[in-house]
Amino acid sequence: MSYVKALKCRECGQEYEKVAKYVCEFCFGPLEAAYDYDKIKKDISREKIAARPLNIWRYRELLPVEGTNYNTLEEGYTPLIKADRLGKELGLKNLYVKNDCANPTHSFKDRVVAVASTRALELGFDTLSCASTGNLANAVAAYGARGGMKRYVFIPSNLEKGKVIASLIYDPKLIGVNGNYDDVNRLCSEIAGKYKWAFVNINMRPYYAEGSKTLGFETAEQLGWKAPDQVVVPMASGSLLTKIWKGTQEFIKVGLIADKKMRMFGAQATGCSPITTAYKAKTDTFRPVKPNTIAKSLAIGNPADGYYALKTINESNGGAEMASDEEIVEGIKLLARTEGIFAETAGGVTVACLKKLAESGALDPDAVTVAYITGTGLKTQEAVADHLNQVQVIQPNLEAFEATQLTAVS
């Protein structure tokens, strides 16, 4: 049984059945799961949640599925690390890093695909699909396999071999489309219109997107049932930021945590920063951009949820920043050197923007701050390969070691 009443258009309020439908037929606005919060408030409690397994399904009342037959690889409940060394370098006294590299396919996409694939199975789909250049493709291929589904993954045909292997290993049908990411997505929209397949980021989007809320839920639970004061979130479409906000507001609404003014800060790459640009220009219209950044998982020039992300940032008294390719690499290195966490390029964007926001005074140095690291650097090694110190090569004896390392040895 589910607490979702309907799918509801975020723009015009039109309601729809809980099927594989993502866009309002009247105004093209995005459909979203609408919950019965009064009922949830009666049924949910901290104790109930705490007694459940350590994955995203501990928050089941606030997720858009009907049953408890989850298609899960134990995604979620990833570490929230106190980051004192990084905090010291940035002048932030209460800094935490939420490390989503620990997920089954090593990115936060496992959260959203777990929800989308579970719902797809409930709706009777036998095929799971997506358009993606990386993390999402890995997650769909893996969760499709776990759920015993056929899986069709669409990628641009010029994708690097390294990224392809991490999807191919799960034996999906992997279709390389001659064109860019937009072309792939447009083709997928057409296929989704014709075949009865579950495209996680298209017709399953209302379910898919809700999975991101669990990052907000977990953060609050891990901080001792308390929302943080300020958070920094990477933005592509802007969906993740709005969902972390939504999750936290829901926790307040159903009485799990106290009300609190949490400030939302968005992080983008300079080479693809329509939301940050709009924020800085104090406008609410977006000019789509042609992405040019090493942070490929953030390279969405036309942000579908940009409007809501911007609204959330402004209403929460937050902010937005952007980081150049050079700053992204430095951000990845800074996090690894101080805290031992190797983040993907999007994590470099987050850390670089965290740094800028701290330095500019936008962030309160005493407040509880959470930075979201959404995936592992093992998948984006080429971005840092040429920016690291070199291996020092020596002969295999003590004399050779001492001759080259003596100054470094205390």
Binding site: V23, A131, Y208, A209, S237, L240, P288, L298, A304, Y307
Partner: protein, 92 residues
């Protein structure tokens, strides 16, 4: 002057399930205005009361987002293809 217009799934109930229709006009806004002649109600789904393309509708002229061109005023010519695509989620 007629151009080809690609219709997305959520609107095909207005086009007799046709994925592709044709419409007359010299600019994007003229095309959109004229779409409703043969397909009742189509225009109102695409633009708001001020005639601006709705926030969550993307319009492409020959693969190029019209926001990179002159928006609703962008000129079209015979043989062009216009695609209407709902915003698609992705990334973060």
């Amino acid at each position: 002057m007629a151009v080809k217009v690609l219709i997305p799934t959520p609107l095909r109930n207005l086009t007799n399930n046709q994925a592709e229709v044709s419409a007359e006009g010299n600019s994007i806004s003229e095309i959109i205005d004229n779409l409703s002649k043969n397909h009742n109600g189509l225009r109102d789904r695409l633009v708001d009361e001020n005639g601006k393309v709705r926030r969550f509708v993307n319009v492409y002229l020959n693969e190029e987002d019209i926001r990179f061109l002159q928006g609703e005023g962008t000129a079209v010519k015979a043989g062009d293809t216009i695609s209407i695509v709902p915003a698609i989620a992705g990334g973060k």
